[in-house]
């Protein structure tokens, strides 16, 4: 127990690292963090190089044009709307699947997380072919006299598609946080006379807040950079306009300025997040067993809850899979080749696994800095690490082409370059997951290990890593899944001739051979979903052996080995 821990009157305990508690010092973690941040900032550097070619006054002119401001407003609105909708869907869903006696809870737990495995360019397509004017659904309704469905193109469609396929970014961390809450805090609150609702608001929500904000941040910035949904649903966000600009004019000036505006928007969002994050940290005070909190009985409400879950899973999972299977069957009956080879699967899995590994390794120092040494430097590093995530993939890819071909020709168009691109693109997903795991770990265990004579490396291996393992696994899994879906950077940076399932889907759909795209698309979704399904199931099944208890045993062992 550190002296900085104070008990608040509402039964939670708050660890406040004061400004003087940890003097800023340059050490390994800081250096590593800075290195990673420099890598992550390459796209930004590229945009600045390009904007300088245009000339600053012309850039400013573009940035303040009516068109640019309109884009800024529209893109911001989209990000805000998607984030709000994701929170509204995900937080109740997390609570239902963790804390209540929802019928079929285990199945819903897994199914509700899986839409994340569906790429928006597939999800958006299925959405349009089902709900578009004169699409499948309209065909079913035709006999009922419906001859036109309401317009889905533009904002509403893009908003729905982005929400449906990205809410698990909020769901997963909130669910993990709910599971790991120490029920004794809530019990203490109840003992001290607070009602259920007041306890929820004053004790549970503050503890979920880090998970909610980190999930919301992933969603908001994903909405800024995603191309699939806005392209298919024809909504002009920055990303779509940048893409069109780069496609049709080889002068990338406007695209570069818009890219910089997107970075500015990202910085604003991150500032907002910083402001809501607060300075408080919560972690267990002792190795008290993490008992699961008492299950809430829903009573008759449970059927309403089941219906809501069913609708969500139907629209976000069954519908897209159904459309893919429809095309698969149509292609097979037309005698189309399946276009699915082990090479393709292996190509996808290998690149994505490496990307996940790289992202987790790179995220560790950034998360450590952010949790353990909050300050100006760590804030800067963390923000830089976001810049690649919020930019369109094509911009990030071209920036790495620019620097790679010029300064690292030996690595250019190798697997390393592609993996590096994945890390730059998806680093924040790993940082977020590791960070929220770290927040729940008390530093005193590591301190104890050091006091007992273990070196920094041994402490890292035996204490730090096991404690944060849930975050490492979750972060790695998220990045793996996102890499599986990634398209623009893979097309531009992979070794020449290297194919993945995603590039195969692209190759077929770009020529509108949807039947030929079906098999790789299905394989892509299944493979991306697999690790997540396993992870979610394990989380669900795991005998909750609190990591803190493990760490205490380890610490004890460290002590013994020193005594020996």
């Amino acid at each position: 127990m550190t002296s900085l821990t104070t008990d608040r009157d509402d039964g939670t305990s708050v660890h406040r690292p004061g400004p003087s508690s940890r003097p800023a010092r340059i050490d390994v973690v800081t250096v590593l963090g800075l290195l990673v941040a420099v890598g992550a900032a390459l796209p930004l550097a590229f945009l600045l190089v390009r904007a300088r070619e245009v000339g600053w006054s012309r850039s400013l002119e573009i940035a303040t044009s009516d068109r640019a401001l309109e884009l800024l407003v529209d893109t911001t609105l989209l990000a805000v709307a998607v984030t709000a909708a994701c929170l509204v869907i995900a937080v109740p869903l997390a609570w239902l699947t963790v804390r209540t006696d929802l019928p079929g809870r285990r199945a819903w737990t897994v199914l509700s997380a899986l839409p994340l495995a569906i790429p928006t360019y597939v999800g958006g397509y299925t959405f349009v072919s089902a709900l578009g004017p004169r699409g499948l659904v309209q065909g079913w309704l035709e006999p009922l006299g419906v001859d036109r469905l309401p317009e889905i193109y533009g904002f509403p469609g893009a908003w729905m598609v982005l929400t449906l396929f990205s809410y698990p970014y909020v769901l997963l961390p909130v669910r993990a946080a709910l599971r790991r809450l120490d029920p004794s805090l809530e019990e203490a609150s109840r003992t001290l006379g607070h009602g259920r609702l007041s306890t929820f608001v004053r004790v549970v929500v503050p503890q979920l807040r880090p998970a909610m904000t980190s999930g919301a941040l992933l969603v908001a910035l994903y909405a800024l950079s995603d191309f699939g949904a806005v392209a298919l649903l024809r909504f002009d966000s920055f990303t779509r306009v940048i893409f069109v600009q780069q496609r049709v004019s080889f002068d990338v000036s406007i695209a570069a300025v818009y890219g910089l505006m997107l970075v500015a928007l990202t910085v604003a969002v991150l500032g907002l997040e910083q402001w809501t994050r607060g300075r408080e940290q919560y972690h267990r005070l002792h190795g008290g067993g993490a008992r699961l909190a008492r299950t809430v009985h829903l009573g008759p409400w449970r059927w309403v809850a089941v219906a809501a879950c069913a609708v969500l899973v139907l629209v976000a999972l069954v519908l897209p899979l159904g459309v893919i299977v429809y095309w698969l069957q149509r292609g097979m009956s037309a005698g189309e080749p399946l276009r699915l080879t082990t090479d393709l699967v292996w190509g996808s899995v290998r690149a994505s696994a490496l990307g996940a590994l790289g992202a987790v390794v790179a995220a560790w120092p950034i998360a450590t800095l952010s949790v353990r040494r909050p300050g100006r430097l760590s804030r800067l590093v963390e923000r830089l690490s976001w810049s690649g995530y919020a930019l369109p993939g094509v911009v990030v890819a071209l920036s790495l082409v620019y620097f790679g071909a010029r300064y690292l020709p030996a690595l250019y168009q190798t697997m390393w370059m592609l993996v590096f691109a994945y890390v730059v693109l998806f680093l924040p997903q790993a940082v977020g997951a590791i960070r929220s795991s770290m927040l729940q770990v008390t530093p005193s265990l590591e301190e104890a290990s050091r006091l007992l004579g273990a070196g920094p490396f041994e402490t890292f291996r035996r204490i730090s890593v096991p404690l944060v393992r849930p975050g490492l696994t979750a972060g790695g899994m998220l990045v793996f899944l996102t890499c599986m879906k990634e398209l623009p950077a893979t097309l531009l940076l992979a070794p020449t001739g290297y194919s993945t399932l995603a590039t195969q889907v692209y190759n077929a759909t770009v020529e509108a051979f949807f039947a030929r795209a079906a098999a790789p698309a299905l394989a892509l979704v299944v493979l991306a979903a697999l690790p997540m399904a396993v992870l979610v199931l394990r989380e669900n099944e795991r005998e909750l052996r609190p990591p803190t208890a493990q760490a205490e045993e380890e610490t004890a062992e460290v002590g013994e080995s020193v005594v020996r």
Binding site: R134, F250, L398, L492, T496, G497, T503
Partner: protein, 353 residues
């Protein structure tokens, strides 16, 4: 838990090893792979020809494999979008690994040519293709042609209901019945050609007239063809060859192409084409590949497999597709169709983008 962890660790170790050794065989065509010693990891590949292709593997993959079979020259192909592959070469600068650029429209070829990135080809190659379907300065050559057409719904319309000029679609009678794809490269090439042929004002007037007719916007040609067939719109501005794929799948597909008379800007012909990069260290092999694309065999492939217009005399197009002697060969240099900046500004200005 333990075995799962072991699996992940193993997978990671194996992939790392594989990546480090770089035994990449990017060939995803089961069975036909003659296990070559070339590695995709090797950026400075000196033994395989590197092609950046804006035409998809679905379309030209088999053709490039034929080239290897015939000449023994290994080919590494990077597939992507036509404009993006050109951007890629421009961004790479002097260190570009590409030997051949193979693109879907003349505009991207023109952009590379203007940047001085393509070398001049031999007259023997250039002369295989009619003038106007290759660059005026001899830096790239068209390999297959695509005509702009209007696709129409055969349940709703007959050929005689259609105007014989694209300019007449601004008539209010077409309100709500047109499908178009203003973001599509082929459409934009047509608008650029319209600006060159009829003048800026006429092009603007035409676009404003179409916008006033409330057209339905699509992202690509095939989406338009499908929308025409299922009645969402009645006519659409597309390239000619998409329809034939649907007809191949279903002979009663309720759509047909209307070919404009040869003097109408609506019937613009654009080409896919290829050029050899100035940074290539294998210019002879690269030239061989360009030559191969103009061989009778390749031209026949374009006619029968992609339903495009073969550009070399003596190869018949597929049924229903116009031949090279029947089409309106533009008297403007197709390479000039890279002034997309102006087209884009115009499209944005009239509210089409």
């Amino acid at each position: 838990m333990r075995p799962w962890k072991l699996l992940v660790a193993l997978l990671a170790a194996v992939s790392l090893l594989a990546a480090a050794c770089g035994d990449d065989d990017g060939d995803d065509d089961a069975g036909t792979d003659t296990s070559s010693e070339t590695t995709a990891e090797d950026a400075s590949s000196t033994d395989a020809l590197t092609v950046y292709s804006g035409r998809s593997e679905e379309l030209v993959g088999p053709l490039l494999e034929q080239f290897t079979e015939e000449t023994g020259i290994e080919v590494e192909v990077r597939y992507g979008d036509t404009a993006e592959m050109a951007s890629l070469i421009l961004t790479e600068g002097d260190n570009s690994p590409a030997d051949v650029y193979y693109g879907q429209d003349a505009g991207a070829l023109g952009a590379l040519s203007n940047a001085g990135r393509l070398v001049e080809l031999d007259d023997a190659i250039l002369d295989l293709v009619p003038e106007g379907l290759r660059s005026a300065d001899g830096t790239w050559v068209g390999t297959s042609g695509r005509s702009r057409v209007v696709v129409y719904n055969t349940d709703e319309l007959a050929e005689e209901d259609l105007p014989d000029s694209i300019l007449e679609y601004t008539d209010p009678e077409w309100s709500g019945r047109i499908g178009w794809a203003p973001t599509n490269g082929s459409f934009q090439a047509f608008v650029t050609a319209l600006r060159v042929a009829e003048g800026e004002d006429a092009a603007r007037e035409w676009l404003e007239g179409i916008v006033a007719n409330d057209p339905v916007t699509f992202d690509g040609n095939s989406a338009i063809v499908e929308a025409v067939a299922n009645g969402e719109v009645e006519v659409g501005f597309v390239n000619h060859y998409y329809l034939y794929r649907y007809l191949a799948e279903d002979a009663d597909y309720p759509a047909a192409n209307y070919l404009f008379p040869s003097d109408d800007p609506g019937g613009l012909v654009n080409v896919a084409g290829a050029g050899v990069l100035d940074t290539s260290d294998q210019q002879d092999e690269a030239t061989q590949l360009v030559e191969f694309l103009l061989s009778e065999e390749a031209q026949r492939y374009f006619a029968d497999e992609t339903y495009e217009i073969p550009l070399v005399e003596g190869v018949e197009p597929a049924e229903g597709v116009p031949s090279v002697s029947e089409i309106n060969i533009p008297d403007i240099d197709l390479g000039r169709i890279d002034d997309l900046e102006g087209t884009l500004a115009l499209l944005t200005d009239v509210g089409a983008l």
